[in-house]
């Protein structure tokens, strides 16, 4: 049996175990941590949800942490920020072509109505380079830029409220 275990671990155990260890950051404080780390809150939320399994908590969320989530559900004021932070690359790609499910999901979070959808996609495409100013731009700045871009458009400006 010992040999079998050695083989298993040699063959397959390393990648995921190492990844799990790296992701294990934990915590997601309101206002501060969301925008601080370059690694993104995505991994941190993952870590939170898989942390601590003591009896009183539901879905492993510590109530003492000012987290992005409550009982595993993302707080409503965090939804757009967490989404943008976790999907930056895919969002930039969708904006560059003016369509895609990541862009559709963002517009859903912002409450964009069906009649404004095409204009929203158009605006995002035309301003992709302005929203993602550099490759390492912080999520906070992406949100600020997106807000400015929306504000510049008469019909779409009302959607910046959800950001």
């Amino acid at each position: 049996m010992k040999k079998l275990i050695a083989v298993l671990s040699l063959a397959v155990a390393f990648p995921s175990a190492v990844m799990a260890a790296q992701d294990n950051v934990g915590g997601c404080g309101v206002g501060s941590m969301v925008f601080k780390g370059q690694s993104g809150v995505g991994p941190q939320v993952l870590a939170v949800t898989t942390n601590g399994i003591s009896g009183n908590q539901t879905f492993g969320i510590s109530s003492g942490t000012l987290g992005c989530t409550q009982d595993g559900a993302v707080r409503s004021n965090m939804k757009a920020a967490l989404f943008i932070d976790s999907n930056r690359e895919q969002l930039a790609r969708d904006m560059s072509v003016g369509s895609g499910e990541t862009l559709a999901s963002l517009s859903h979070l912002l409450g964009v109505e069906a009649k404004d959808q095409a204009a929203f996609n158009r605006l995002a495409k035309d301003n992709m380079a302005r929203i993602f100013t550099t490759e390492s731009v912080a999520t906070e700045q992406v949100i600020v830029a997106l807000r400015e871009v929306l504000a510049s458009d008469a019909t779409l400006s009302r959607y910046q409220a959800a950001l």
Partner: protein, 637 residues
Amino acid sequence: MRPICLIIFATLSLSQDLAFGATDNAYLAELVAKSRQLRLAERQEWLKLGHYVPNLISSGVHGLVDSPRFYNAPDGKGNPQSELEATLASFYSDIEESNEQQNPQCVFVARFEWLNEQLAFDPQRLPRRICKRYQQWHAALNPDGLTLVFASAYINSPSSMYGHPLVRVDAKDQDEHTRLLAYAITFAANTDESNGLAFAVNGLFGGYPGAFSILPYYLKVREYSDLENRDIWEYQLNLSQEEVDRVLRHAWELGPVYYQYFFFDENCAYHLLGLLQVARPELELTGRFRWWAIPSDSVRAITDHPDLVKKVVYRPASATVVRHGLGGLDKPERKLVKDLSMKRVAVNDPVLGILPAEHAAAVLETSQDYVSYRRAIGKDDVADPAGLARELLTARSRLDVVAQTAQIPPPKVQPDQGHRSSRVALGAGRKEGRGFQELSARATYHDIMDADGGYARGAQIEFFSLTLRHYDSGKAQVERFIPVNILSLTPRDVFFQSMSWKIAAGWQRVRTPDGNEPLVFSLDGGAGGTWSNEADTVLWYALLDGSSRHDSALANGYALGAGASVGGLLDLGQRWRMHGYVRSLRYFLGQRDTTRALGLEQRIALGRDIALRVDVARNRESERSYNSGTASILYYF
């Protein structure tokens, strides 16, 4: 506004307090008597909510959940009746809900609902608590459907080798374009163990707690399809609103609990099915998984109920997207993609401007996808890939044409439509003129000769394969016992440079110089490359091999060797596959020997779960050559 709300709330809860707290013993006794009379503790609904399964040897049942708080009665893990009675009693608890704790009525919100349905609680005598946290959670999820999501096999991760399932909670206000915003319920071993050996040992023997978690679906999509490059299949379930809510209530109960996690049986697939089957009283999903649960079989457990699946959606991994994008380009455009991605051609190079806008857009999109893919898998031979990605995106956003990446058609065979994952074989053959009969069995799951539909091409994962052989001369013996046999043949091309590798450990017959054939433990590994043709009907591989053998029958008790193997797999139509190979190993330490093998294996699929195999080989061991051949019939179940 806020303080007023608080005051109102405080007053409300104060007035409610007066009604709570004291147990109405007479009424509790009445409820208990009624539950016994109705034999509620024997009902499927109750057994499922308590995760009770029949004991293996003795009669009776035991609960699978390992956190003690999940069972209210001291003997609740083994006694559904006393657990039911203790649960009824706990509903009188005076615990107030806070961020730290919940009232048992809210902790066990599914049990309360079901017991209330059966016993029709009198709200005067058993006052109902308001479960604010549960209600908020339910409102945030806003569920109106459930989807079983299956991320296909990822051979490089021990917990995902067979693929990985999760349950997605689809919200009322979402559609197919905004499913990223749904929540995903997952079950996983809970560990930050970074030592591979410890991870494997603990995973096999239940050393880690396994727990449910819930998180936005987009995080799992990013993880699977972008980082790990796995195609995702979504099986939308055909459930009523009440059935969905039943599952959600039980998910809430399971949120804080843990189980001992076992790779083979009590794994993610098993526990997710245990959650889903509370949807309907008669729905039985976990029963068949007594010894091991393969995630793709968990999909089958669902699709075997024909009315349970509404729709199947395919979500291609990033590498699949790149491959598809490349397929739509001509040869010079493909070269341009490669050159742009490697920074051999600048993004502002005039060569792009000459192309029609649609073609330029397609080249830019595919280049960007390829750069992202390379970043995700950790290739860092191009300086500043993130900057390059942004340049490509910016150039693309300036082209006024619609997205060129077309809808990618799903593979012909879904993961639940491939051959079943266990196999037995009955065969007969000859070796050096001696006739024999063979019986083989394999616990799981796929080898390179099996039909690929529903499985990853070139990925062989076999666990616990045993072959018994009986010679006409009267001898019956174990011919081979291979607990682990993994082979990954991933084709390479200009864009994808994956390494191929193999590892196998087990006991097999080895010819020694004295002419005997002892059963020798052997550990084999190898690494190399694989190449395919464009039609995907041929795979060529070349591997450098290492081998170590251990047995007292060998000189010094061991043999250490190195060598190479070369082979080709050829598909002649859907049913017929041929595999020719040459292998040579030189054992230079311990028991010295030079072994050679030249062989041809053939498989003809007669149906999804039945196939013919004809294998012939010429081997050389201990200075002697011999021929052998076997014909067998294979049955997958």
